[in-house]
Symmetry: C2
Subunit: 233 residues, 2 copies
């Protein structure tokens, strides 16, 4: 896990907080907020909390989820380094999710004030933020499409491909990464039974398309998997 922390630091220079902070610091030197660290299972904010800040994932990963009245948990998103968390809060100025970390992680906090400042004072900042919100909408629509038009295997493959994209920028045909979430979380997120996830992983492993070793996943040929998805549209 320490190894992963180090390897993800490279994302720092592309991450949202840094772009934003660059904008903010033009006008107010010294406002740079220090990252705060969390351990696995800890929470960042909870559904119903007052919406007074956004957060940027620097290192690690987390899940957003909302609870139904019966206490049931529905995961709406996973977050990785560079991601903005909490954008849904503007609707009612209240957080509509809870966020819980899946591993040792660190995040930066951006107060609503700073956010507004970046929006007003900097063209780059404004464009960056609008683009991020917009991108989130598009991402969700992609997931939506995946849920309505793809069967279980296609959904899982798309999920794995998305993960590999976030973990690794290398262009090598095979990619290795470690799942920071349980199969239970994956099943919840993709709207299928955990047994189905398990069966599909085993089957693809047997077919040699992927390798599964506990939480470590190897995609043997990323292009093949992409082609499989495209073919089934």
């Amino acid at each position: 896990m320490r190894r992963q922390l180090l390897s993800n630091v490279k994302n720092y220079e592309h991450c949202a907080s840094c772009t934003l902070l660059a904008c903010l610091c033009k006008q107010r030197e010294g406002t740079r907020s220090l990252p705060r660290t969390f351990r696995r299972g800890e929470g960042l904010f909870r559904l119903g909390d007052q919406f007074d800040a956004l957060y940027v994932m620097q290192v690690g990963s987390a899940k957003s989820f909302s609870n139904t009245v019966s206490g049931y948990e529905q995961i709406t998103n996973f977050h990785f380094p560079g991601d903005l968390m909490g954008l849904e809060g503007f609707d009612k100025m209240v957080h509509v999710h809870s966020v819980r970390f899946l591993e040792h992680s660190s995040v930066c906090r951006i107060s609503i004030n700073d956010f507004n400042r970046a929006l007003i004072d900097s063209d780059t900042g404004r464009h960056f933020l609008l683009s991020r919100m917009s991108h989130l909408i598009v991402d969700e629509q992609q997931l939506l499409l995946s849920l309505t038009k793809h069967d279980a295997k296609q959904r899982l493959v798309k999920f794995l491909l998305d993960l590999s994209k976030k973990h690794n920028q290398s262009t090598s045909p095979s990619q290795v990464f470690r799942l920071s979430m349980t199969r239970i979380d994956i099943a919840n997120y993709l709207g299928m039974a955990i047994e189905t996830i398990s069966r599909l992983l085993s089957k693809m492993h047997a077919q040699g398309v992927i390798k599964v070793n506990k939480r470590q996943i190897t995609l043997c040929d990323v292009d093949d998997l992409r082609a499989y998805l495209l073919a089934s549209e």
Copy 2:
């Protein structure tokens, strides 16, 4: 249809363009854009078009959809009076959907310039726009939840309830409205087969929960339907 045009005009005073225009007009008198009208089947913009404006539905309804490589159409949203259309474009400054009208409709255009102006110059405008984008994200997450956690009947009931909310603010227990979209569109949007939609509507009609007459839908007891949804969480 003309009757419906008239009855929807009341929404005008709550609609997005009017709030925005109020903000814009504080600084630039006379920029008020005139509504443009469209007929059923006509398009507003298409996937890939340059993103240079947002649109506000004044009267009527429309669907947003994206096309897969094979030309297959996936509906991501329906739009009703007051809705902002095109917010996803900020991501890559290109429209990621096509929009097609389902009936005689009229829309206002808000150029990106005006949009930015409202964002920069007016606190109300900025908050309104962020809140709208945020709300869209939340709405999509609701749909997502519906797709993963609800069965076909629950999804259809939720869809009908959402529609009735948009059509009618009255608090009477029974609500009547007319579907502007085909069952094909509904099936596409909800990720189910058109035959399933048809069967469910017939069944609920037979049970006396709703009345179905062509495209006209009567929800006999809205609270009952809401209770049904809640019970099945």
